[in-house]
């Protein structure tokens, strides 16, 4: 009896071993793509023939050329406490991909490419981010990777992309550009080929916030600085020490850093206010930080302006700091959509059609994601190639104003050679949103972020 059970065990282990390999093989077949994958396939894809037929319709041949798939991978945090932001970015990507596909796909040469978007979860964990990137590139055959949203993970993803000849498209905001020197800076640079940026960085946005401050609050001279606990926040604080005096402003007090899971914002804000500032700058913010700092500051009797350089709808901040006034920052106020460009109106209609609220507090995040993918697809179409290297090279030549379109307005182009060492940063219009003294949420000012 014992012998038989051992034999069964042996057989079972063999079955499990083979089963796992089969599982692996199946997982791969599930999303078979017809795109030229960067990795080689040694074995024939005869394992588990079922799913393959489902991929067949997209390979229909037309007289003009072939209809093919272009696999673009996205990496965002889809689970965990930050999931709302990641899901919003995913929604934005989906909407942008749908827009292109509905219009008939990308016309490249004689071929038509349908965008196949695959979004993986990094769960805000480095190994998951790394796993997701490897899966997207090697298994799904993605040749362009967007994200991840967390700056630190970009360094984890980038080597994997570079090794596999995949372009890393940084579509969301960057906390600090290459101009801010610190260990672990994740910006594009000459020694990071295939890495391009499709959005501005906080330090590139800040001058426009200061312009707005000086225009509307001429008496505000002393600025206290706070932000999320990160190396880039410290570097930004140091940078502000020279930048602010150059514009006739003053940086006061020490930097207050807040961990992402801070529960009580009163102590750090009390320390901020002890320097008697005229205004507070949240240099790097999580979705909560701006609102929480505003709320604490108002509770403590501070009435000066509170500004934020991480892009965010002011609705989100005011959801926390209810009724606060004189709050502004980089972002789009969805309550004030009327004056915005038609492309954005259209995007937002599609967003609402998917069942999301029209004045979604997190809408700003999806817009940035949408915009990033849209611009990337424009670059691919203009390059007339799906090869990551060719697209990357061509992207760098789109230096004339108006070469690219964005949701925020026209006139976008690629720049950044002087500040980052490589011409791979999108220069685009953007908005400052907030509430003035009247307490109405609106888009206060359009600016053009010109990265030299």
């Amino acid at each position: 009896m014992k012998k038989r059970s051992l034999a069964i065990l042996l057989a079972l282990m063999l079955v499990l071993g083979l089963g796992s390999v089969w599982m692996v093989a199946c997982g791969e077949d599930e999303e078979t793509t017809t795109t030229a994958a960067p990795t080689t396939t040694a074995g024939p894809t005869t394992t588990g023939g079922g799913p393959q037929t489902t991929a067949a319709p997209t390979t229909a041949t037309t007289a003009a050329g072939e209809t093919k798939e272009l696999v673009i991978g996205g990496i965002a945090f889809l689970t965990g406490p930050g999931a709302a932001g990641g899901m919003a970015a995913k929604t934005g990507w989906e909407l942008a991909a749908a827009k292109i596909n509905d219009a008939g796909g990308l016309k490249i040469g004689n071929d038509t490419y349908m965008v196949k978007l695959l979004v993986e979860d990094d769960a805000m964990s480095v190994d998951q981010a790394s796993t997701a990137a490897q899966k997207l590139i090697q298994q799904d055959g993605a040749t362009f990777i967007m994200g991840p949203l967390v700056d630190a993970f970009k360094n984890v993803i980038y080597p994997i992309c570079a090794q596999n000849g995949v372009m890393l498209a940084d579509v969301d905001t960057k906390n600090a550009s290459a101009a801010i020197k610190y260990e672990g800076n994740t910006d594009v640079s000459p020694d990071r080929p295939l890495h391009a940026r499709f959005h501005w960085a906080n330090d590139e946005m800040m001058p426009y916030l200061f312009d707005y401050l000086q225009e509307n609050y001429p008496d505000a001279k002393k600025i206290a600085v706070c932000g999320v606990t990160e190396a880039c926040t410290v570097a930004l604080y140091d940078w502000l020490g020279t930048t602010l005096p150059a514009r006739g402003l003053e940086r006061v007090g020490a930097l207050e850093q807040m961990a992402p899971d801070t529960a009580d914002y009163v102590p750090p804000v009390t320390r901020l206010l002890s320097a008697k500032p005229d205004a507070i700058l949240v240099a790097v913010s999580t979705p909560q930080t701006w609102g929480q700092v505003t709320k604490a500051a108002r509770d403590l009797g501070f009435n000066g302006p509170v500004m934020c350089s991480t892009h965010m709808g002011v609705e989100f901040a005011l959801m926390i700091a209810e009724g606060a006034k004189d709050v502004f920052g980089a972002g789009i106020a969805m309550a004030d959509l009327a004056g915005l460009p038609p492309a954005m109106q259209e995007a937002h209609e599609a967003y609402v059609a998917k069942g999301y609220p029209a004045q979604d507090e997190i809408a700003d995040v999806y817009l940035v994601g949408y915009n990033g993918l849209w611009v990337l697809l424009q670059a691919i179409e203009k390059a007339q190639s799906v090869d990551p290297q060719e697209v990357y090279d061509f992207y760098q030549t789109l230096t004339n104003p108006g070469d690219l379109q964005t949701l925020w307005g026209d006139g976008a182009y690629v720049g950044g050679l002087q500040s980052t060492g490589v011409n791979a940063v999108l220069c685009e219009p953007y908005w400052i949103n907030g509430v003035g003294a009247d307490g109405v949420q609106k888009n206060l000012k359009q600016v053009f972020i010109d990265v030299p």
């Binding site: 069964i8 065990l9 984890v156 606990t229």
Partner: protein, 346 residues
Amino acid sequence: MTERAQRITKTSAFVVILLLVLALPWILRGTVKAAPYWTHVFVLIGVFTLMTSSMRAIFRTGEVSLGTAGFMLVGGYAAAILSIRLGLSPWLTMLLGGLLSAAIGGLLAYPFFRVKGVYFSITTLLLGFVFLYLAGWMDWLTGGWQGLQFFNITPELTIGSLNVAFTTKTNIEYYYLVVVVVGICLFVLYRMERSRVGLVWKSISEADHLAQSVGVNVMGHKIFVFTVACFFTGLAGGLYAFHVHALSPTSTPANVFHFFTSVYCLMYMVVGGVNSFYGPLVGTTLFMLLREWGRSVSEYWPLVMGSILILIVFFMPKGLVGLPGYSRIWYEKLRGFLRRRALSSE
């Protein structure tokens, strides 16, 4: 039936599995498109197998430690920091990380083992959080909440003119590194369990008062096994660190150093089978493959995992390693049921 036949079956099973493990990268290369990706997954499986087996070693004395993620963090961070700051070789720092983890574990073991059962689990759980938050707040040492990144540091091996760098390019080199290191650790754990020490652990878990009365230094043995397990867990942390090249103390549940990792290890152990040495191996491998396979539904993963756990606990209390026995019982039950039905319908 005979002992010899048993031994032959066992040995051949072992050889087959060993060959499968050794040939895995090549099997993957031949069968799947994304071989490096799956190799990477198996590297993580190796690391987690070591952690789960270490947890089980502690469990042999009857206690469930939920500090696994915390000690992994200590080992991983220590290895990374020593390599970054002092430029020491990753080979050395991985070992030192394990030793530091063991030292901390050894020092804390005495106060921890003053309590038993759920109280012990809670103290170790809290310790894991302490390590996580220390890593976040001690930014002068650990890089703070931002975490650490060290892509330029990889273990290298030079044999004669042959230089092997354990990069993430194909993951194959690192896979074999993990197979060798984890293999040695598992061998040590296996021999311990099968020797007198293992018998002593078992006696402690079954009746600690009786064990004491026959002369077993219960506290001493518990401290010993905890220290050993912490060493292996720390080593697993080092292996993890030099594979992923980035560590962060983010307090999101998905962070590998978060408490959930300990819970996952516990689940792997229970699902695989706590009473068998092979339980953690089977549980970790299957669950992590399943998890990777079901990536597209990752939001529902905790739900799936919980359901599987409940089903296993209800229907297969011995875990997956008990499947051959269970399937025989189920088969007999089914046969009996069919026969009864046949009889009653006549």
